[in-house]
């Protein structure tokens, strides 16, 4: 049964050192505010799971929160490298990072298996790729009917899933729309979950087959307006493309990165403080 609480309280209660944490959102609705709060609270030894570990994980990795990364594509979309991720993998700074590496199809299927209560998923994938050589969570599997050679991937079952959504009602029912990625699967696969939302409303009034997380599948709902920045929330604000460009410079250098994190994250109380410190105005939504 979802409790509506502050983000600080939710992270304090639900994210523990050593946890496997899945923070999802495919470009859209990335839970950046929650990532910052995990950094503020100094969590360590996390196994971070994410299809596309972009800026949110670059920050967590650069601040030394993670010991392992389960992922499929780690870059700054449309800009280039994730410098903190690269520094961790290439030079072990600030600590070494173990990689469990998938393709998008493989990891998406692994989430589906987790959400389905199955220990693994089957896909017609990874043929000829070197990825299975380095990832023991990918194994060959033969179809019992046709003999076709397929791949099995171990299910993802996070301790905590963290996602951002547009809205929740007062009971904690969550409604998200637009690019929904694997968020529903991440929450349903996890033992606990935190959903940050743009706003709490009296009635969701969602369309018939909307993507809904019923309140009894969510552990904590936290109102955090702008909580996806620099990602976006369809219907609320646009992607801050300028920030993604700027991140390339901020993150390229260890000292500059640390200084920025000190000033905008560690030195602020909450997400509103972050937005002020970083001088962010949420971009209004463009109408196509």
């Amino acid at each position: 049964m979802a409790e509506i609480v502050g983000l600080r309280e939710a992270v304090a209660a639900l994210v523990r050192d050593g946890d496997t944490v899945a923070m999802e959102g495919f470009t859209h609705l990335i839970p950046h505010a929650a990532g910052h709060e995990i950094i503020r609270q100094g969590r360590r030894d996390l196994t971070l799971v994410r299809m596309t570990p972009d800026l949110v994980y670059d920050q967590l990795i650069g601040m030394g929160c993670a010991r392992r990364l389960v992922f499929a594509w780690g870059g700054n979309p449309g800009v280039g490298s994730l410098h903190r991720f690269r520094d961790a993998v290439e030079h072990g700074w600030p600590r070494s990072l173990e990689l469990v590496e998938h393709s998008h199809a493989g990891l998406a299927n692994a989430y589906v298996a987790g959400a389905s209560g199955l220990p693994f998923a089957v896909l017609d994938g990874y043929h000829g790729s070197d990825l299975p050589v380095h990832n023991p969570d990918i194994r060959p599997l033969t179809c019992p009917f046709t003999g076709r050679r397929l791949a099995a991937v171990r299910a993802i079952r996070p301790d905590v899933a963290i996602v951002h959504a547009q809205r929740a009602d007062r009971r904690g029912n969550v409604h998200l729309w637009g690019i929904v990625g694997v968020q529903k699967e991440a929450v349903l696969a996890a033992a606990r979950s935190i959903v940050t939302v743009e706003e709490i409303v009296d009635e969701l009034d969602a369309p018939p087959n909307a993507c809904i997380l019923p309140h009894w599948t969510v552990t904590a709902v936290c109102p955090v307006p702008g909580g996806a920045h620099p990602s976006y929330a369809q219907g609320y604000y646009d992607r801050d493309n300028g920030f993604y460009l700027a991140w390339d410079g901020i993150s390229r250098d260890r000292e500059r990165f640390r200084a920025w994190m000190e000033r905008c994250v560690l030195g602020t109380e909450d997400h509103a403080g972050y937005l002020r410190a970083a001088g962010i105005t949420l971009p209004p939504e463009r109408t196509s």
């Binding site: 495919f26 449309g78 199809a105 998406a108 994938g125 070197d130 690019i179 700027a246």
Partner: protein
């Protein structure tokens, strides 16, 4: 009369021309997105763009910076969960053309987007596979677009992220992959295609003003040329105008660095 143009523009336009109207195209980030959206503005208004983030039938008004931009969702016929894109659409054989970029490519069109150097202690850590391995496996055919540089066109990949023709011949068929594999590699110098039997990439079309030596110097293996190499038709004014207009609107929309 033709306008002056850059090799980058030639590459985008040559790639866009390869996308027939009415087909379904799975669009990767970056250069493929430019070419696909350019094709939609030129000869292929009914090209169906599918992005792995979930949008099906997206008609973005500017080039998305990422493969999950709001424009894609707002203009799509529908937006489905990411796992569904990979299962019901790609793996189910409903994509005609997969369109990929890459960091490295070898002579059999295998791709590396994972690491330069050793996997466990790489010299350069690249972003990783993303959707590429399964796009290249299941799309009816695959197009690859990348800048023609010696460090990208390598004799031997450090890591095989995505299979093209493996070590050539019928190796791909023996692997049981559904799609035909990479049929055209478009660069800023030329177009390469797999030779029918060996599956080795050979140059089939050279962009105007490019010398064979330029291609040889920028390819990390002794690249061969097809018996009948053509010259890529140079960009037509309407192609250039559409591309430049698209890029100008994109820059205006995406803004400058913020939050530093």
């Amino acid at each position: 009369m033709s306008l002056p143009w850059t090799p980058e523009e030639m590459m985008a336009i040559a790639a866009a021309r390869l996308l027939p109207d009415g087909r379904t195209c799975f669009v990767g980030i970056g250069l493929p997105g430019t070419a696909a959206n350019l094709a939609r503005r030129l000869h292929a208004p009914d090209l169906v763009l599918i992005y792995e983030s979930g949008p099906i039938g997206a008609r973005p008004p500017v080039l998305p910076l990422s493969i999950g931009d709001g424009d894609l969702a707002r203009t799509a016929d529908t937006v489905v969960p990411t796992h569904e894109i990979f299962r019901y659409w790609l793996q189910n054989g409903r994509i005609d053309i997969g369109f990929l970029g890459t960091a490295q490519i070898d002579r059999f069109a295998n791709l590396n987007t994972t690491v330069i150097g050793d996997y466990r202690s790489p010299r350069v850590r690249l972003p990783g596979a993303g959707g590429a391995p399964e796009i290249a496996a299941h799309a009816g055919e695959t197009l690859v677009i990348l800048r023609h540089r010696r460090r990208a066109f390598v004799a031997r990949l450090d890591f095989v992220t995505t299979v093209g023709y493996l070590d050539g011949g019928d190796a791909r068929e023996r692997l049981g992959l559904r799609g035909r594999g990479p049929t055209r590699i478009v660069t800023d110098l030329c177009i390469l295609e797999p030779e029918p039997e060996s599956r080795e990439l050979v140059v089939t079309s050279v962009h105007p003003g490019v010398a064979r030596e330029d291609i040889e110097a920028n390819t990390g293996w002794p690249v061969r040329f097809a018996p009948a190499v053509t010259t890529t038709p140079e960009p037509r004014p309407e192609e250039l105008e559409a591309l430049r207009e698209l890029r100008a609107r994109t820059e205006a929309a995406h803004g400058r660095p913020s939050g530093e």
